[in-house]
Symmetry: none
Subunit: 194 residues, 4 copies
C-alpha cells in the first residue's frame, strides 16, 4: 500500500520524522507522534504493528523514494563516471532538501535496537546494488581500474557519502551540502579511475 492511498499512514510517518528530528529518538514517544499526526494513540496500531514498525516503515518509504530518484537520474547518463557524479549530487540534493529526514536517517535512527537496524540495512541493500552496478559498468567501459574490489569500492563510496552527510548534520548544516557534491564526486572518481 503506497503512501498516497492511506492518508493516516502518511500522516503518521511524516509526524514521526518531525517528532524524532525535533526531540531525538529516545524522547519520541508513540503518544507524541500520534498527537503530532493528529490521531489517537490507538490509531497508530491500526496502521503499524508496533513502534519498531513505524521506524522501519518510515525508512522503507523514504529510502525507497530516495533510491528511486537516484536510479531515475542516473539512467539518463551513459558514462559510469557521470553516473557516479550524478549519484553523489542527487544523494546530497535530496537530504539537503529535507533536513529533518537527514537528522533522522543520519543520527537518530542509528540509536535503535540492533533488530531495527538490521531491517534498515536490508532497505539499504538496494542502494548498495545501485552503487555496485555503476562500478561494474565502469570497469566494463574501461573507465575504472580492473583491479578494483567492488565491495571495497562500494564501502568507500557509501562510507564517504555517509560520513560527509553526517558531518554536515552534526554541524547544524552551517554550510551548503550541495556544494560538496562536485569535490566529493571528484575525489571518488579519482580513486577509481585508471
Amino acid at each position: 500500500m503506497s503512501i498516497q492511498q492511506r492518508p493516516k499512514y502518511k500522516q503518521i510517518i511524516d509526524a514521526a520524522v518531525k517528532v524524532i528530528a525535533e526531540n531525538g529518538f529516545h524522547r519520541s514517544q508513540v503518544s507524541k507522534i500520534a498527537k503530532r499526526a493528529g490521531v489517537a494513540d490507538g490509531t497508530i496500531y491500526i496502521y503499524f504493528k508496533n513502534k519498531e514498525d513505524i521506524l522501519v516503515s518510515l525508512f522503507k518509504e523514504k529510502m525507497g523514494q530516495f533510491v528511486e530518484k537516484i536510479e531515475a537520474e542516473i539512467k539518463e547518463k551513459k558514462d559510469a563516471k557521470e553516473k557516479l557524479l550524478t549519484m553523489v549530487k542527487v544523494h546530497f540534493d535530496q537530504l539537503a532538501a529535507d533536513y529533518p529526514l537527514a537528522i533522522v536517517t543520519q543520527l537518530e535512527l542509528r540509536q535503535s535496537e540492533t533488530e531495527i537496524r538490521m531491517a534498515i540495512n536490508n532497505v539499504l541493500k538496494k542502494y548498495l546494488h545501485v552503487i555496485d552496478g555503476i562500478l561494474e559498468e565502469g570497469k566494463q567501459q574501461g573507465v575504472f581500474r580492473d583491479a578494483i574490489d567492488i565491495r571495497l569500492a562500494r564501502q568507500m563510496i557509501f562510507g564517504t557519502l555517509d560520513e560527509t552527510v553526517t558531518n554536515w548534520v552534526m554541524n547544524d548544516h552551517k554550510y551548503e551540502l550541495r556544494d560538496l557534491a562536485d569535490p566529493v564526486g571528484d575525489l571518488l572518481v579519482n580513486g577509481l579511475s585508471r
Copy 2:
C-alpha cells in the same frame, strides 16, 4: 587519573566493554557491568558520574590508546603515502585484535543518546587531526593533489575506514580485516594522488 593507578576504574571499563559486546547496548545495565567488574552497583558511582560517563570514559581510554599507537607508528614513516597506508594498517590491526572493542565502537555505542555521541565525536577529533596532518604533509610533499579539500578528504578516509570495519563486524568477522588494509589503502591513496 590514568588506568594504571585505579584498579577498579580499569576493571569497570573493561567489564563495560565485555558486557556491551556480549549483551548489546540496551541490555547492558549498570548492575550487570558492576557484577562483571566484581564491584557493587554503588561503587560505579564513586568512579563515574553516571552511566553516560562510563561510556564516554571507555571511549576516551580505548581510543586514546588507539590513536597513540597510530601516531607512534606513522612517526617512523617519512612519505605521506606511506603514513596513510600505515595508518590504515594499524587501524585495522588494532580492531581485528580486539573484536569485543570493535563491536562496541562500531555498533553498540552508536545506539547511545545523541549527547553521548557528541562527546564521543570530541574524542575522535584527535584522530581526525592525525589524518589532517598526513593530508597537509602530502600536499606539501607534492604527492597529494593541491586542489584537495582537507575536510572532504578526511571524511572520505575516515568514512571509508569506518564503513569497512562496520561491515566486517556486521558480517561476524567472517573474513580477515587485515587483508583489506592494502587494497583499501591503495584506493584512498589513488583518490588523493596527482
Copy 3:
C-alpha cells in the same frame, strides 16, 4: 426476546461460547466474538448493552434451558430421592454433551468481575429453588431427615455437583462424567436420608 426470533442474537451468544472455550476468558475480545459470529463489532452493541451483557445473557440463555430440562425430567418422578438422582444425572448429562459450554461455565466465566458473577448467581437462583423444592418434598415424604437445614443441604448438593464437574473439566474430560452420576447421587442421598 427469545433466541429463536433474533438470529444474530443467537449467533453472537453461540460465538461467545466457542470463542471463550477455545481462547479462554481473557483472550476473548469483543472483536473476536464478532468475527466468529460473522457480524461487525458495532453490531454486537445493537443486541447487547456491553460485553458484560453478552456474558450474563449467555449464562441466562444456556442455564435457562439447562434448568428447564432438569425441571421437565424430575416432574415425571414422584419420589424425592429419585428426583435428586435424576437431577444429578441430567445435570451431568447436559454438561457432558456440551463440553465447550462446560468449560465456559465452570472455568472461564468465573474469571469475570465480581459484578458479573453476582448477576450470574442471580440466574442460578432458579436452579437452587429446584433443589430446595426436592429437599422440602423429601422431608414431607419422610425420606429425608427432618433436622436437615435446607440451605446447608442445598449448598452441599450444589457444591458437590459443581466441584465434580469442575474437576472433570480441569482433567480435560479424561473420564466419563456420566459414570459419576450414580455414585455421586448415592453419596448425596445417603447424606440426607434417615
Copy 4:
C-alpha cells in the same frame, strides 16, 4: 524464606490481601499494593518476580498456614469422624477469623488467569491429600462405607465447604460461619457413614 524473616515480603503480601479484598481483583494495581505496603513500586519486584507471583505467593503462604493448622488439630483426634468434624470446624474458624482473606480466596483470586489458578490448584493439593487421608482412615476404621470412591467423596467434602464459605462471603458474612460447622459436618459424616 518464611514470612517472619523478611519484613517487606510480609508487608507486601498482607497489603495485597487488604487491597484485593477492598478493591476487587481487577482494581488492585501493583502501585496500590505498594502504597498500602508502604514501599515503592519497584520494591515489589525485589521480592516478587511479577504481579502473578504476588498472588501465588500470597496463596501459598496463607494456605500453607491454613492447612498446617488443620493438620495439627486433626492429629490429636483418633476417630475419622471426629477428624472430619474437626477439619470442618477449623476450616470455617480460620476463614471466619480473617474475612479479607476469605474474600480474596473465595472470590477475587478466582478471577485470575488460568495459569495462576493452576498454581493455586497445586497449593490446594496438599489440602486434598489431608481429606483423602481422613477418608482412607475412616474406611479402615470401618466408620465410612467401603464402597465410597475417595475422589468423589473428596469432591463432595471440598465442594460443600467451598460452596458454604463462598455463600457466606457473598452474603456479606451476615450470619455466623462458625455456627454452620456442626450441621455441615453432620451432613457430610452422614453421607459417608455405614
